[in-house]
């Protein structure tokens, strides 16, 4: 019990430190932009009057420690600043694209679970069969090949050669069918690695569970093989899988950045990319902060659920290659 409380406390402290570290990093980055920040942000064409006004507005004339305090205070109150290009609050820009990234990520996780779990389960039941061997190879290939490479090949095959699915963008707003059709390829590109990863995890953990005493007992009681496998064994084999999935959120977000760029879909990744291209630092800072926040909070939740479900799960993670 004390062990658990201690772990909980150390996790909370670490999480706070990470968020603090992220904020500090973002501030430092904005403070050490090569050259002076005003010209970097406004570009060479800005008039001297506008520059002076800008420096005053942004508080760049104030001492370093004061700026640091203001920056932290703003972030803590949820104020991510104002976009210099459009004059809109950064948070409103981020929240307008956030749903696209969430839909893409959740659709990808959903597809990966939907295909990965049955495949892994099937491979475990037919351990050593040709199907098992083929699946083992395909799983590694899926995991190893970067998601943006898969995205490019999907785009070439299904949009350009076969002309089955539309290529770019998120679709017309209000036209659900069009939006769903445009979600298919990005989702698949992002999910492919995770299908392989989950199939492998489920297979391994099914094989472990199938050797347990309670499975032997249920067989001895005369329960049908199907019931034993798909109900009792699978249920327990899935718990570590679902928990480990949480660890993948960061990688999934990283993959989503590139996939969004390949398919020119709006989203956090695309926003970060555009912000870099236009040197829009407030938007960049805000978007990176939100990504780090999502990542850290998900990791915390997953970690806590690990220790609640089964602390041994922690040790299982990290020994397998993960999707890129």
């Amino acid at each position: 019990m004390i062990e658990t409380a201690r772990y909980l406390a150390s996790r909370l402290v670490t999480t706070a430190l990470i968020v603090f570290g992220a904020m500090l990093l973002l501030f430092t980055l904005s403070a050490i932009v090569p050259g002076d920040p005003a010209s970097a942000l406004l570009g060479p064409q800005a008039t001297p009057e506008y520059r002076a006004q800008f420096i005053k507005d942004m508080g760049l004339d104030r001492p370093f420690h004061e700026r640091l305090l203001v920056f932290f205070g703003n972030l803590l109150t949820g104020n991510l600043g104002t976009d210099i290009l459009s004059g809109k609050p950064v948070w409103s820009i981020i929240s307008s694209v956030l749903p696209f990234t969430f839909i893409l990520t959740f659709a990808a996780i959903g597809l990966a679970v939907l295909l990965g779990v049955p495949l892994g389960c099937f491979a475990a039941v037919r351990r050593g069969s040709i199907f098992d061997h083929i699946l083992a190879f395909i799983s590694v290939a899926f995991i190893a090949i970067p998601s943006f490479v898969i995205a490019i090949f999907l785009l070439l095959i299904f949009s350009i050669w076969l002309d089955w699915l539309p290529v770019l963008g998120e679709g017309k707003s209000g036209d659900w069918l069009d939006q769903a059709r445009r979600l298919i390829l990005p989702t698949t590109a992002l999910a492919v690695g995770w299908i392989g990863f989950i199939a492998r995890l489920v297979r391994t953990s099914m094989l472990e569970v199938m050797g347990e005493n309670y499975i032997r007992t249920s067989r001895a009681y005369g329960l049908s093989e199907r019931l034993v496998t798909y109900k009792y064994a699978l249920k327990n084999a899935c718990i570590p899988t679902i928990a480990i999935l949480g660890m993948g959120v960061g990688r999934l977000l990283g993959g989503a950045v590139l996939v969004e760029i390949v398919f020119s879909r709006p989203g956090l990744g695309r926003l970060i990319f555009d912000a870099i291209a236009t040197r829009n630092y407030p938007v960049l800072q805000g978007a990176v902060f939100v990504v780090v926040l999502i990542f850290v909070v998900t990791n915390l939740l997953v970690d806590l659920s690990y220790s609640a479900i089964d602390p041994r799960i922690r040790r299982q993670a990290g020994r397998e290659a993960m999707p890129r």
Binding site: I18, A144, V257
Partner: protein, 293 residues
């Protein structure tokens, strides 16, 4: 209880050959070994293999199909794709190996320090590992590159930093196990200094798992470098990275699909090869790490 030191894992030529024989004993291991050997030789011998200067422009011959003169055709500026692909393997290996070397050395030192120094310092190091490991590496790289501008060296440093905890945690765990072994105890009683114990016992014994880890991280680093270069934030043109080749091909997709297909296939094949090799190496060095059997 025996107090004899176990044979070092990273030892003689015969042991290394044994590991390679075990890797080559499976189909996937052989395939991994073959691809890795191809990529590494391409990287080493690039200047002698490339039939053309990879950066030489020949605009009259842009988007050529594969032929006897240009084995894989040419890109949008008439540059020879085969030569650029070979040079790309050089960049990929240089970035991957230097980033992993930095991460492995720093991580191992921190890991040994964590296992050997007083508990409060250990805690600080472990928290540091947790903090670093908690940043999404690609997004972190994007933020840093956005400010300092794209550069290959920067990519190496960022990737190295994000990998430090991976090596540090394994090094620490290994040292903790070995620290309590009777033969280390015996060395200590005989008056061996800690530095001597680290150099002659700890390092040789933790080298195996660390090398396995390093080989499994190579495809991850290759992917990050290619990903950053693909969106124009890694290796700068005209330098031929696989990522920039894919970027160039993708930008001129309507003119020719070949460059993007060739470059993506090369990248996909390389990451697959290194992953297969890494897993086969893991199984060959320490079969216990694989839970499939």
């Amino acid at each position: 209880m025996s107090i004899a030191a176990p044979a070092s894992q990273s030892g003689t030529l015969a042991e290394v050959l044994g590991v390679f024989r075990r890797i080559a004993s499976t189909f996937t291991g052989t395939m991994g070994l073959f691809i890795v050997a191809m990529v590494i030789s391409a990287a080493i011998f690039a200047p002698w293999i490339t039939p053309y200067d990879p950066d030489a422009l020949d605009v009259m011959r842009r988007f050529q199909n594969p032929s006897a003169t240009h084995w894989l055709g040419t890109d949008h500026l008439g540059r020879d794709l085969f030569s650029r692909l070979i040079m790309g393997s050089r960049i990929a290996m240089a970035v991957a190996l230097s980033a992993i070397a930095i991460a492995m050395i720093t991580g191992t030192l921190l890991g040994i320090a964590a296992a050997s120094l007083p508990a409060h310092i250990e805690r600080i190091i472990l928290i540091l590992f947790d903090v670093i490991a908690s940043f999404p590496s690609l997004v972190l790289a994007l933020a840093v590159v956005a400010v300092f501008g794209p550069s290959t060296q920067l990519v190496v440093v960022i990737v190295a930093v994000t990998l430090i905890p991976v090596f540090g945690r394994v090094a620490r765990a290994q040292v903790l196990t070995i620290n309590n072994a009777p033969y280390i105890e015996a060395e200590r009683l005989l008056g061996a200094s800690y530095a001597r114990i680290v150099v002659s016992h700890l390092l040789p014994n933790i080298a195996g798992p660390l090398v396995v880890l390093a080989s499994m991280e190579i495809p991850v680093v290759i992917t990050i470098e290619a990903g950053l270069s693909f969106i124009g934030l890694g290796v700068r043109p005209p330098l031929a990275s696989w990522g920039t080749l894919i970027y160039d091909g993708y930008a001129y997709l309507s003119d020719s699909k070949l460059p993007v297909i060739i470059a993506s296939s090369a990248l996909g094949l390389a990451t697959l090869g290194f992953t297969l090799f890494g897993e086969a190496l893991r199984d060959a060095v320490d079969p216990r790490l694989n839970r499939d059997h």
